[in-house]
Symmetry: C2
Subunit: 259 residues, 2 copies
C-alpha cells in the first residue's frame, strides 16, 4: 500500500515506476488506483473516462477485479485496476455501507485466490492512495500487508508522519493486525539544497533500517514521463530517475525476501 | 478559499505568503488552517500541539474564533486560527452532524460581524484546505466568496481541474450560490523545463483572464522558509520567490477591487 496523506510526495510516481521496474524483470504485478484523480491510470496509459469500469465498481458494487483490470500497453505483465472520477463520490457512499473498511480486502482476496488457482499468481500488488486518511486509504491499509511510504525531502514532509503512524496503529488495532511499515522511500531529493540532506538524515535517524538506501533524485524526466502516458522506465530508460527506481525496486525485492 | 484536491501544488505556501505580503502592506488578514497536517500553522509559527484550541473546536464544538486565534509573531496584523491533529477526526464526526457543511460559515460570519463591530475589520480572509474534496474543503467552499486555486506547472495538475470545477458547480447549486473562481495562480514554475511552459500555456488557454499574470518560480528559498517557521517574505525578503508572492498579492488586490 503506497500511502502518505501529505500531498504531492511521489505516491503515484513511486507506484507506477516501481511496478513497471518489477514487471520489466518478468514479475507479474497488479496496481490498484484508488485515487479519484486517476494519475496512476494516466501514467500507465489505461483508459479511465467517467463511467468506465473501475475501482469504483469494485468497491461500491462488488464487481470482479478480473472484469475491470486492464494490462499496461507499454509494460507486459503489469495489470491495472483503474480509477475514474466516479471514485470521488465513493468515500461518502462508503460511510453508510456494511463492512465499509473491508470492501477492498474482500475483492482483492477473491481476485488473488482466483488468479492463483488459474496459475497466474501476482508477485506484487500495489495500491496507490489519495492524499488523505479517509475511507479509501483505510480500505487500502486494511487490505494490505505492508506500507510503502514515500517521503519527499522537504520540510513539511516530517510533520505528517506522526499522523500517519497513528493511523497505522489504529488500523492494526481494529482492522488489520498484520499491517506493518514495509519500506520508506525518500523522493524528490534535490542535491542542490541543504534542506534535502537534513530531512533525509532526520528520516533515517527516526526510522533506521526501514528506510531504503536508494534515494530518488528530483529530475525533469520523471515529471515529464506522465505527459506521454509512460513511466520513466520506458520514457527514458537510461536516465538517473529510471535507474534510481530500478535500484529501489531491486532493494524492495531483497527486503521482501521474508514477506 | 485556497483549494485544489491535487496534493502538493502549493496551497499552503500560497496561503501563508500571500497573507504575509498583504499584512506587511498594513492590511488585517485572517488565515484559517483547515488542514489537519497544520502546515500553515507551522509556517506562521503558531503553536498547534494536540489538544490546543484550534479549528477543530470551532467546527465541532462551535467555539468562538476570537478565543482560538493567535497573531503571527513575525508579521503583525496577520491572525491565524490554527489546525491541530485533532482535526483529522473531524471529517468523520461532521458526517452525522446537523448543518454539517455550514459550520465554518456560521462561525466565520459571527467572528467577522464581531470584529467589524469592534472596529477591527479584516481586509482579507484565507482558508487553507487539505488535498481532498471532503467535508473540511466543502465547509471552506461554503463559507467563502472566492476560490484562489494554485496550479502546479506539472502534468498531473491538469487532470484534477475538471473534478475541482465539478465540485464548485455542486457547491454553487446546493450550498453557496455566490462562490466563484477568484483567481488561479501558477506555482512551482521551473524555467528549465518545456513541460512547465506547456502546462502554463494550457491553463491560460482554458481559464483566460482568471489566471494571474504573476507566476511563482520554483525556488529553494521558498521551500526552506517553513523549516524556520517563517514565510519567504521574512526569511529572504529580496529573493525571487518573495518578490513573486509580493507581486501576486498586489495583483490580487487590484483584481479584487470589485469584491
Ligand atoms: N523524483 C521526481 N522528480 C521530479 N518530479 C517528480 C518526482 N517525483 C514526482 N514528481 C512530480 O511531482 C508531482 C507530485 O508527484 P505525485 O503526483 O507522484 O505525488 P502524489 O503523492 O501521488 O500526489 P497526490 O498527493 O496528489 O496523490 C508530479 O507532478 C510528479 O510528476
Ligand atoms: N515555489 C516553490 N518553490 C519551491 N518549493 C515550493 C514552492 N511552493 C511550494 N514548495 C514546496 O513544495 C511542497 C508542497 O507545497 P505545499 O505544501 O505548499 O503544497 P500543498 O498544496 O499545500 O500540499 P498539501 O496538498 O499536502 O496540502 C512543500 O514542501 C513546499 O515547501
Ligand atoms: Mg497521487
Ligand atoms: Mg497544504
Amino acid at each position: 500500500m503506497v500511502a502518505n496523506q501529505k500531498g504531492g510526495v511521489g505516491k503515484t510516481t513511486t507506484t507506477v515506476n516501481i511496478a513497471a521496474a518489477l514487471a520489466q524483470h518478468g514479475l507479474r504485478v497488479l496496481v490498484v488506483d484508488l485515487d479519484p484523480q486517476g494519475n496512476a491510470s494516466t501514467a500507465l496509459s489505461i483508459k479511465h473516462d467517467e463511467g468506465f469500469p473501475s475501482a469504483y465498481e469494485v468497491l461500491i458494487e462488488g464487481a470482479d477485479m478480473a472484469h475491470v483490470r486492464a494490462e499496461c500497453p507499454d509494460v507486459p505483465g503489469l495489470f491495472v485496476v483503474p480509477a475514474t472520477i466516479d471514485l470521488s463520490g465513493a468515500e461518502i457512499e462508503l460511510v453508510s455501507m456494511v463492512a465499509r473498511e473491508n470492501r477492498l480486502r474482500r475483492s482483492l482476496d477473491a481476485h488473488l485466490a482466483a488468479t492463483e488457482q488459474a496459475g497466474d499468481r501476482y508477485d506484487y500488488v500495489f495500491v496507490d492512495c489519495p492524499p488523505s486518511l479517509g475511507l479509501l486509504t483505510v480500505n487500502a491499509l486494511t487490505a494490505g500487508r505492508e506500507m510503502l511510504i514515500p517521503i519527499q525531502c522537504e520540510y513539511y514532509a516530517l510533520e505528517g508522519l506522526s499522523q500517519l503512524m497513528r493511523t497505522l496503529e489504529q488500523i492494526r488495532e481494529h482492522l488489520n493486525p498484520d499491517l506493518e511499515v514495509g519500506a520508506i522511500l525518500l523522493t524528490m531529493f534535490d542535491a542542490r539544497t541543504r534542506l534535502a540532506a537534513q530531512v533525509a538524515a532526520e528520516v533515517r535517524q527516526h526510522f533506521g533500517a526501514q528506510v531504503l538506501t536508494t534515494v530518488i533524485p528530483r529530475t525533469v524526466r520523471i515529471s515529464e514521463a506522465p505527459s506521454y502516458g509512460q513511466t520513466v522506465l520506458t520514457y527514458d530508460p537510461g536516465s538517473p530517475g529510471a535507474l534510481a527506481y530500478l535500484e529501489a525496486a531491486t532493494e524492495l525485492t531483497h527486503q521482501g525476501e521474508g514477506t
